[in-house]
């Protein structure tokens, strides 16, 4: 079919075209943004890896069979002499590097970075190619001197020649700051966000590594010496337990480390990109279905004049292709901008290295194109192919509808497809491999759906959802690895979403019929009132600030002040938007026109007005007596009174008919309502899942605190859960010496602490003062033999005990990263994994194997008869020297945990917000299209006396109905999957299920508001229809 026709169709309705494109564009933009962002990060970190490991020829370090490199045992000091004696070695440079080396500046501020490490290093004076270059002053030469990098110097209040305290995992000590330096380059500091403090090698050895040895040695080859030969010679000279590698290999390894981290981050973001694209796909699918439905007569006409069904499909796919190309191009362009902005923000706030390298890999463009074109075309395929079946007769009938073509029933074929799908699933589950589940799970789900359509078309509608629920149940029943089970749950969620999407048209009439009456009207009233008040308050506040700043601009002009004024101007607009939205919600809630709502509204309006008058009078009195504080009430009162007067206009008349029409409109085309709602359903389901998980996380923590924790004070850093975080062991000692404290218990944790010799499995583990810990924590012992407590005691979780057939008194061997094998004896078996994880060993044993580490966390009990205030004062007097640490009481500690969980939840919800915005866009497009389609009908009701305000309410109500329908399904699914996630996440993390009903209800309320918001533009168009034109609309 001619390209011209396709092009005409696209350009005839540019607004609609742009709206359709926007859904895809946002998805592509996010995907491309993630790639640009992470590629640029990778490049910066790649450079950093070269800077870190690039100034030598050979690195010598201890060998570790497993575990983190930072936990590796040290290299003995003598080894450096051994190496220096090797033929062809020009120089040997010992290196020391330690995390958590924090300087306290002249104002007592601990100079802690937000993301990158705080590092302590030795000044490398033995190498011919240094990494540190003095910028001011000189290098540290004695045990009382230090230098720091120029950026750290500039960030804090420091002076060369001043003396500052430095916190390490040894005792705090004071050093004279003798100079500043830059890293990797004499001119620019290539130290990407980290803060670096350098000491002379001997002091570094003592304070950073407790004289255990160097972290590694770097070797520079003599002039003309072949590195490969030298490497062999060095390797020959090394005793057992040490290894040598070239600088290239070391840099690659370093880059790989960075890369792993960035890739994890990238995966996290791409998951959200995927969600966004899924939601976009639904929007596109819906829009195309509606467009085909609306043009059914036109398409029938094409068929009547001789176009083949295939040509019709091609024409529609051609339109989709134009949408796809346009949105992809715009998406890629804006995505590059987004990636760059993110990159900039991250370095701006010091979470990541500076650097403005904008890396555009070909893969970025390829993915952007695949995603944009792919999602659009896939979403448009079903509607386009349905159009193939439009009969030429459709041109003549006014009520022609698209039919869903069912495949012919074929029991053998369908049955075998279903069976094969289940076998595939079974195979994936037996493998217990998350990659296989991720790959084969969706394939099995797809096969199951296809197969059951051939088995029995009636049942097939339910098959996808049923399969999803089956996966959900399997994930709960089967004993799979945590990773596998979470992926399985994700596949279950995706399948269930799609399944529910295909059933929900059947539910839509019922649910919409029930929801679209008083429940929704009450909800709208409930959200409308606070939103209106908030909007009014915000408007007043911003307006007052705007005026104040604006006036101030005259006395004190400047760019920043100007920006502020403009900012407040925007804020006013935004606040007015909230106000308008709130008023719209209230207004729409009256659509049912009950007497009672009229009474409530009248009372409400009267109260607002009355409060306004009282405030205004108070303000007036204040003005007369010049009580400044009260004058401010005058404008507030006047505005309130004015608002009440305006609100009177909104006092409702009965509109049962409107409500009914809105409801009927959403029921008339259940497919459309359901798929418009589905996009929002997915968004809200994910938000609810995250909320249920977070809330359960908090509940778990509250439970632990109240049931199993008996200590009174908790000392922690901000970076909890970061295993590299630790602090000086002096603190515990000093706190223990206080009269006000009874006992202090110290904690260590590592994800790869040791491996069990018998099966070579690497285990995570805690370590603590076992004896004292009994007064602090109770992991719910099944059995405990206190007489066994000693250096070689281990307490284990009952699950681990059962798996390894261990009982009290049994011994087994564990091997540490330093390759020392220790024999530990089971002294206790506990049931509560949320405290120590699955294993805890004694601190003595830990310290023997990890001699340079500090404490990660402390808990303290108050001595008998000491009140809280005194205890706190005493503890604070000591922790004052450690500004990077927090001291919390039980309540404060719980609050801190909850805050950090909430923060994580906010981050997730903000990322999901993009998906939700697209879903709302989808609702707006759907409504706009149905308004267009119903033009004639709308004209008719206007002709027989519907006012334009009633019309607005009707369309707004319809928007709210769709949104609440989607929100409602989303909440149910989200809660279901949240609860399931809580079940499958190991008890060590989450053990208590908590469903935050109020929060979830709020989401429903927000969905209603958002529905109103999305419907505002279509509603306005409907209200402004010219009655006569509308009536004669074809």
């Amino acid at each position: 079919m001619g390209f011209r026709l396709i092009w005409r169709n696209v350009t005839a309705k540019p607004f609609r075209f742009l709206l359709t494109c926007s859904a895809v564009t946002l998805g592509v933009m996010f995907t491309v943004g993630v790639f640009v962002f992470t590629d640029s990060l990778r490049a910066t970190f790649g450079d950093l890896a070269d800077d870190i490991q690039g100034n030598f020829d050979i690195q010598v370090r201890s060998e570790i069979p497993f575990g983190e490199r930072i936990d590796a045992p040290q290299v003995p000091v003598e080894l450096s002499d051994t190496l220096a004696a090797v033929e062809g070695v020009e120089a040997v440079q010992p290196r020391i590097i330690s995390f958590n080396t924090i300087a306290i500046d002249g104002e007592g501020e601990a100079q802690v970075t937000l993301g990158p490490p705080n590092l302590g290093v030795n000044w490398e004076s033995d190498t011919p190619s240094p990494r540190l270059f003095v910028r001011e002053g000189r290098e540290p030469r004695s045990s009382t001197e230090m230098a720091m990098d120029v950026d750290a110097f500039a960030d804090g209040t420091f002076e060369i020649g001043g003396t500052y305290t430095v916190l390490t995992n040894d005792s705090p000590r004071s050093f004279e700051l003798v100079g500043t330096f830059s890293f990797a380059d004499p001119e620019t500091n290539a130290l990407v966000g980290a803060k670096l403090i350098a000491f002379d090698t001997e002091s570094a050895l003592e304070i950073l590594n407790r004289n255990e040895g160097y972290d590694d040695l770097t070797v520079v080859a003599a002039e003309g010496q072949d590195v490969a030969t030298l490497l062999a010679r060095v390797q020959a000279a090394l005793p057992d337990g040490f290894e040598a590698l070239t600088s290239e290999a070391a840099a690659d390894e370093q880059a790989q480390d960075f890369d792993d981290f960035i890739s994890r981050f990238q995966t996290f973001l791409l998951v959200f990109a995927f969600i966004i694209l899924l939601v976009s796909a639904f929007v596109i699918y819906n829009v195309f279905s509606i467009l085909v439905g609306q043009r059914i007569r036109e398409l029938g006409l094409l068929r009547a004049i001789g176009a083949t069904g295939r040509q019709v499909t091609t024409a529609l796919l051609g339109e989709a292709a134009i949408v796809a190309m346009f949105s992809t191009v715009v998406g890629i362009a804006t995505g590059i901008g987004l990636g760059w902005t993110l990159r900039w923000l991250l370095s701006r706030f010091e979470f990541a290295p500076q650097g403005n390298d904008l890396l555009l890999e070909p893969a970025t463009f390829i993915w952007g194109a695949i995603v944009g074109v792919g999602v659009t075309m896939v979403s448009a395929i079903v509607p386009s192919f349905r159009a193939r079946d439009i009969s030429p007769m459709a041109a003549l009938r006014s009520d022609a509808r698209l039919v869903h073509r069912q495949p012919a029933v074929n029991t053998v074929l369908g049955g075998s497809i279903v069976i094969v799908s289940w076998l595939i699933l079974l195979f994936a589950l037996i493998s217990d491999n998350w990659q296989l589940v991720l790959l084969l799970g969706p394939i099995a789900a797809f096969g199951n759906t296809i197969g059951s359509r051939r088995l029995n078309p009636g049942v097939a509608r339910y098959s996808t959802a049923a399969f999803g629920i089956a996966l959900l149940l399997l994930s709960l029943i089967l004993d799979l690895g945590t990773g596998t089970v979470l992926i399985l749950l994700g596949v279950a969620a995706g399948t269930t979403f799609l399944g529910v999407a295909s059933i929900s048209p059947m539910w839509a009439p019922g649910i919409v019929g029930a929801l679209g009456r008083w429940p929704l009207a009450i909800l709208l009233l409930l959200v409308g009132v606070p939103l209106t008040l908030l909007g009014a308050a915000a408007t007043i506040g911003c307006a007052v600030l705007f005026v104040i700043r604006f006036v101030a601009l005259f006395t004190d002009p400047g760019f920043a002040a100007g920006v502020e004024v403009v900012g407040f101007g925007f804020a006013i607009t935004f606040a007015l938007g909230l106000l308008a939205l709130g008023l719209r919600c209230i207004d729409t809630s009256f659509i049912l026109g009950w007497r009672i709502s009229r009474v409530i509204a009248a009372v409400f309006v009267f109260l607002v007005g009355a409060v306004g008058v009282v405030l205004a009078l108070t303000g007036l009195a204040g003005l007369l007596t010049l009580e400044t504080a009260e004058i401010a009430l005058l404008p507030v009162g006047v505005v309130l009174f004015g608002a009440a007067t305006c609100l009177r206009r909104f006092l409702p008349t009965s509109m049962r008919a409107n409500a009914r029409m809105a409801r009927e409109n959403s029921r008339r085309n259940p497919d459309r309502t359901a798929s418009a709602a589905t996009a929002l359903m997915i968004g809200l389901a994910l938000v609810s899942t995250a909320t249920v998980v977070a809330s359960s996380f908090k509940a778990t923590f509250a439970d632990i605190l109240s049931d199993s924790v008996t200590s009174d004070w908790f000392i922690s850093g901000n970076a909890q859960g970061d295993p590299t975080f630790n602090f000086s062991t002096d603190l515990a000692r000093d706190l223990d010496m206080l009269d006000e404290t009874d006992t202090v218990v110290r904690y260590r944790f590592s994800f790869e602490a040791y491996r069990t010799v018998v099966n070579q499995e690497v285990q995570d583990s805690s370590a603590t003062d076992l004896a004292n810990s009994l007064e602090h924590l109770n992991p719910d012992f099944v059995e405990l033999d206190e007489s066994l407590i000693g250096r070689d005691t281990i307490w284990i979780h009952e699950g681990f005990a059962a798996d390894n057939l261990l009982e009290i008194g049994d011994s087994f061997e564990i091997e540490f990263p330093d390759q020392v094998v220790e024999t530990v004896t089971v002294g206790g078996i506990f049931t509560d994994a949320s405290i120590y994880g699955n294993r805890v060993i004694s601190l003595e044993l830990w310290q023997d194997r990890y001699p340079t580490g500090g404490d990660q966390f402390l808990s303290v009990t108050t001595a008998n008869g000491i009140d809280d205030d005194r205890a706190r004062a005493a503890i604070l007097a000591i922790t004052d020297s450690y500004p990077q640490l927090n001291v919390d009481s039980r309540e404060e500690f719980q609050e801190r945990q909850e805050n950090s969980i909430d923060q994580a939840l906010v981050v997730i919800n903000v990322l999901l917000l993009v998906a939700i915005v697209i879903a709302l866009l989808g609702i707006a497009i759907t409504l706009a299209l149905s308004v267009f389609e119903r033009t004639r009908e709308l004209g008719l009701v206007r002709a027989v006396g519907m006012t334009s305000r009633q019309m607005t309410r009707m369309v707004l109500f319809e928007g709210a109905i769709i949104a609440v329908f989607g929100g409602f399904l989303g909440l149910i699914l989200g809660t279901l999957f949240g609860a399931a996630a809580v079940q499958v996440i190991p008890d060590a993390f989450i053990s208590t299920l908590d469903i935050p009903v109020t929060d979830l209800m709020q989401y429903l309320a927000i969905a209603a508001i958002a529905g109103i918001g999305a419907a505002m533009v279509p509603a306005r168009r409907a209200a402004r229809l010219n009655v006569l034109d509308a009536i004669s609309h074809e």
Binding site: D399, G593, T653, S654, M655, R656, A657, N658, R660, M661, E664, N665, R667, R668, R936, E937, L940, V941, R942, A943, V944, G945, M946, T947, S948, R949, Q950, V1027, L1028, I1031
Partner: protein, 246 residues
């Protein structure tokens, strides 16, 4: 004027002029129309295609505004009304029946009939509504949706809706234009009885002399001007008149 059933005007137009476009493309759809529709009168408007009949209906019903002149419904001059008041006037004081597409597809027959009252938030006078439905013969079809009704039944619902609010005046633009003559006659007799029994005022556009004979007055419109008028018309008289006008 002595033989008119009543002399109180339900609606009138004074110098009604409607001009579409301007310059070369200017069309005078109405050109200074003066007409009065008395209470309880059943008036038919006839004229060739494009003579301005629909335009007159629309302007009189407050669906469109005049370029010049004035329309008065009851005591109210339409030019003084805001868009909203016009809507309310249509809702409460004017009934309208179009040639087709008169009903909201999602509402049942009875809901369509009471729609103006529902929009107004008033309770319909059940006795009156029942009486209207009875008269149109729709009693057993009230819960049907429009697409379950025949074209004739749909038009009857539309007329019932126009009657249900007991408006000042009902305008009907070719209400039987899409119907066969038997069904059309049913509708026309029904409108006739509404005039006779309830004293309703009706103005109807038609091309059919037989239809016009149901009215007690026929007005002829040509090129936006009233050119002639007949009282108590018979089909033959109407036909003669049409021939004489060419």
């Amino acid at each position: 004027m002595t033989d008119a059933p009543s002399t109180t005007p339900a609606a009138r137009a004074v110098g009604a002029t409607k001009i579409y476009g301007s310059g070369d493309t200017e069309v005078r759809a109405l050109d200074g129309v003066d007409v009065t529709f008395n209470k309880g009168d059943f008036t038919a408007i006839m004229g060739p295609s494009g003579s301005g009949k629909s335009t007159l209906m629309h302007c009189m019903a407050g669906l469109d505004d005049l370029t010049d002149g004035e329309v008065v419904i009851g005591e109210t001059a339409l030019s003084t009304l805001s868009e909203k008041d016009l809507t309310l006037l249509r809702r409460d004081n004017v009934g309208f029946v179009f040639q087709a597409f008169n009903l909201v597809p999602t509402l049942s027959a009875i809901e369509n009939i009471t729609l103006p009252m529902d929009l107004a938030g008033t309770t319909p006078d059940q006795g009156w509504v029942d009486q209207v439905i009875e008269t149109v013969g729709l009693a057993n079809r009230t819960t049907h949706r429009p697409n379950e009704l025949s074209g004739g039944q749909q038009q009857r619902v539309a007329v019932s809706r126009a009657l249900a609010t007991r408006p000042e005046i009902i305008f009907a633009d070719e209400p039987t234009g899409n119907l066969d003559s038997t069904t059309g006659n049913e509708i026309l007799s029904f409108m006739r009885s509404a005039v006779d029994e309830f004293g309703q005022t009706i103005v109807m556009v038609t091309h059919d002399p037989a239809a016009a004979s149901y009215a007690n007055r026929v007005i002829f419109l040509v090129d936006g001007k009233i050119v002639d008028e007949l009282r108590e018309p018979t089909p033959d008289a109407v036909l003669d008149m049409m021939k004489s006008l060419g």
